[in-house]
C-alpha cells in the first residue's frame, strides 16, 4: 500500500472540514475522490501533502508516518502534488519550472519521458510560464510534479477550466503515466467522466466524510452519481 489515510480529522479555523476520513491507494492504482464543491476534497489533498495540518488521524506514505512532516520533506519522499489552479511559477521559463521540480537532487536534467508525454513543453522551453495557455500550464504543472519521478501523483481537479480536447489529452497522458511508470495516482475531480475513464477505485466525499466507496462499476451501479454528485 502506497498511501494510507486513517481517521483523518482536519479543521480550517473553527470549521470541522474532514470527519474521520479513511482512504487507501495501492501501488500502481488510480484512486479518484469525487464530490461536489465544498465537500473537503482539496483540504484532504492538502493534508496529505502537508500544507494543511491534521487535527487528528494518520497519513502513512510507503510505511512512513508523514502526518506532521513538512511539505518539502513529503515531496522529497516521492509525492508529486499538482494543486488546483495549476500553480506554476509564472516568471520562470518552462524549462526552469521543470528544473525546479528536481528540488534537492544533484542531477538537474529533466527526465526524457516528460517531453514524451508533453511535447509542447520542449517547444516552449524558454518561454515565460505565465504566457502559456491554461491547458499548457496544466501540462507544465503535471510535468513539474513528474520531474522527481514520484511514486504517487496527487492531482487536484486537473480538468478545471481547461477546454475539453485538452482535458481528454491530459486524461490519456495520466493513464499512460500510470501504465508505463507504475506511478500511483490520487485524483480529485468534479468531472465524473474524467475520473471514471481512468480510476480503478473511487471515494465519494459528502460534507467532509466518506459516504461511499467502490470500483467505478460499483459506484455507477449504485446510482451514487445521482445521489451525491448531481445537482
Amino acid at each position: 500500500m502506497i498511501l494510507q489515510v486513517s481517521d483523518l480529522d482536519v479543521y480550517r479555523g473553527p470549521n470541522h472540514v474532514l470527519h474521520n476520513v479513511n482512504l487507501q491507494v495501492e501501488e500502481g492504482q488510480i484512486v479518484a475522490v469525487l464530490g461536489r464543491n465544498g465537500m473537503g476534497k482539496t483540504t484532504l489533498l492538502r493534508s496529505i501533502v502537508g500544507l494543511t495540518p491534521a487535527r487528528s488521524g494518520k497519513v502513512v506514505f510507503m510505511t512512513r508516518d508523514v502526518t506532521r512532516l513538512a511539505p518539502h520533506k513529503i515531496a522529497a519522499l516521492g509525492v508529486g502534488y499538482v494543486p488546483q489552479g495549476r500553480e506554476i511559477f509564472p516568471n520562470h521559463t518552462v524549462a526552469e519550472n521543470l528544473r525546479l521540480g528536481r528540488s534537492g537532487l544533484k542531477d538537474r536534467s529533466i527526465p526524457e519521458e516528460i517531453y514524451r508525454y508533453f511535447g509542447i513543453l520542449r517547444e516552449r522551453a524558454s518561454q515565460r510560464a505565465g504566457t502559456l495557455s491554461g491547458g499548457e500550464q496544466q501540462m507544465l504543472a503535471i510535468g513539474r510534479a513528474l520531474a522527481r519521478r514520484p511514486k504517487l501523483l496527487v492531482l487536484d481537479e486537473p480538468s478545471e477550466g481547461i477546454q475539453p480536447s485538452i482535458v481528454e489529452m491530459i486524461c490519456g497522458i495520466v493513464h499512460r503515466i500510470n501504465k508505463e511508470q507504475g506511478t500511483a495516482v490520487l485524483l480529485v475531480e468534479q468531472n465524473v467522466d474524467f475520473a471514471f475513464s481512468i480510476a480503478h477505485f473511487c471515494y465519494v466525499l459528502e460534507k467532509g466524510a466518506v459516504c461511499n466507496q467502490g470500483t467505478v462499476d460499483a459506484i455507477q451501479d449504485d446510482g451514487v452519481i445521482c445521489q451525491y454528485l448531481a445537482i
Binding site: 513538512a70 511539505p71 513529503i74 500553480e87 511559477f89 516568471n91 520562470h92 528544473r99
Partner: protein
C-alpha cells in the same frame, strides 16, 4: 550597459566602454571625485546586497545598513586592537564579512523557521537595527560613540612582512581601483548566484512560498542562507567604506537603511545592476542638491522617490528596458534600411 545572460558583441562593447569610463574617471575628475565615486560604488555594493533579499527572494530588510555597519565597525575594531598581527587587514575583511553573516544566520534561523514573515519580519529588522545603533553609541569605549571610530590603523594592501601600502585618503587612487575591482567581482559572483539553481529557488520563493514548499524546497533554509549571504556582501561593503568614509553610528541607523531601500527602488528591484545604478544616481543627486539647494534638497529627493514609485515602479532599469530598448531597436531597424 544593462547586462543580461546573453553576451552579444554589442553588449560586450557596451560593458567594455562602461568599465573603461570608470577606470579613467579618477584621472579625469581628481581626488575629491575619486573619493565620492568610491563611496558611491561601496553604496552600490550595499544596495546589491539588499537586492538579493528584496529583489530576488522577496523579503524586505529595513535595516540592511546594520550588516553594513557591523562590517565597518568589525573591520575597524579588528584594526584597532589587532593591527600588530601580520595579515590583520585580511583578518579585518574576514571579520567584516563573517560577523554580519553570522547575524543573518541567527536571525534567519529563529525568524524563518519560526514562520515570522512579511510585515512581522520587517518590524523585527527595525528592532535589530535600533539595537545595534544603540550599542554603537553606548559602547563608547570601543566604538567612540556618536563621534565615530577614529585613530585606528588603516587597512593595508599587500603581503604582510614583505610589502604593504595603506588604504587611506593619501592613496585615494589605489582605494578607488580596489573598490572598483571589488564591485565588479561582487557583481559577477552575485550574477552567477542568481542564475544558479539556488538563485532559481530564491526567485520561486519570491513568487509563492507555499508553491515552492510543496515543490520540495525548504523555504526557511533558503531564506536564511539568502539573508546570510546578503549580510556578508553588505559587511564587505562596510569594510570597503573605511577608507572612503567615517565609521560612525549613522551608518548603522534606520535612516541610512531607508536610503538603501531608496537606491534599490530607484535603480530597479531584482536586476542587480539597477541597485548599483540607483546608489550612484541618488548619491550624486543628494550631493549636488544639498550643495546648491541647501534647504530643500531633502524635499526634492522625497518627491523624486515618490515619482519613481508611482511612475517607474521597475526603477530606472525597468524604464530603460520597457521604453528605451524598443526605441533603440526601432532606430537600429530604421538605420539598417
Amino acid at each position: 550597459m544593462i547586462t543580461s545572460s546573453t553576451l552579444s558583441p554589442s553588449r560586450v562593447a557596451a560593458i567594455a566602454v562602461v568599465l573603461i569610463a570608470f577606470a579613467v574617471f579618477p584621472v579625469l575628475a581628481g581626488d575629491y571625485h575619486a573619493q565620492l565615486m568610491g563611496k558611491f560604488l561601496v553604496f552600490g555594493v550595499l544596495a546589491l546586497s539588499l537586492d538579493l533579499m528584496w529583489g530576488y527572494t522577496g523579503v524586505i530588510n529595513f535595516s540592511q545598513a546594520t550588516f553594513f555597519g557591523i562590517g565597518a565597525y568589525g573591520a575597524a575594531l579588528t584594526m584597532k586592537y589587532l593591527a600588530a598581527t601580520p595579515g590583520s587587514s585580511y583578518l579585518a575583511v574576514l571579520v567584516a564579512i563573517a560577523a554580519p553573516m553570522l547575524l543573518g544566520l541567527v536571525m534567519g534561523y529563529f525568524l524563518f523557521y519560526g514562520r515570522v514573515s512579511g510585515v512581522y519580519f520587517a518590524i523585527v529588522t527595525l528592532a535589530v537595527g535600533t539595537i545595534f545603533y544603540s550599542l554603537s553609541i553606548v559602547l563608547i569605549d570601543f566604538t567612540g560613540g556618536l563621534n565615530g571610530l577614529y585613530g585606528f590603523p588603516p587597512l593595508k594592501l599587500g603581503i604582510p612582512g614583505l610589502w604593504e601600502t595603506p588604504l587611506n585618503l593619501a592613496n585615494i587612487y589605489l582605494v578607488y581601483y580596489i573598490v572598483l575591482v571589488a564591485t565588479v567581482v561582487v557583481y559577477v559572483i552575485t550574477r552567477q548566484l542568481v542564475g544558479s539553481p539556488f538563485g532559481r529557488a530564491l526567485r520561486a520563493v519570491k513568487s509563492n512560498e507555499a508553491r515552492t514548499e510543496f515543490t520540495g524546497y525548504d523555504v526557511a533554509a533558503l531564506k536564511m542562507i539568502a539573508l546570510a549571504i546578503s549580510g556578508g556582501i553588505a559587511g564587505l561593503a562596510g569594510a570597503m567604506y573605511i577608507p572612503v568614509g567615517v565609521v560612525s553610528p549613522q551608518i548603522l541607523g534606520i535612516l541610512f537603511s531607508t536610503n538603501v531601500i531608496v537606491w534599490v527602488a530607484v535603480g530597479g528591484r531584482g536586476t542587480l545592476i539597477g541597485p548599483l545604478l540607483g546608489a550612484l544616481v541618488v548619491g550624486y543627486l543628494q550631493t549636488f542638491l544639498s550643495e546648491t539647494l541647501v534647504s530643500v534638497w531633502l524635499l526634492i529627493i522625497g518627491v523624486f522617490f515618490v515619482f519613481v514609485v508611482l511612475f517607474w515602479p521597475d526603477g530606472i532599469v525597468g524604464f530603460v528596458r520597457q521604453r528605451i530598448h524598443p526605441l533603440l531597436r526601432r532606430l537600429g531597424g530604421a538605420m539598417r534600411r
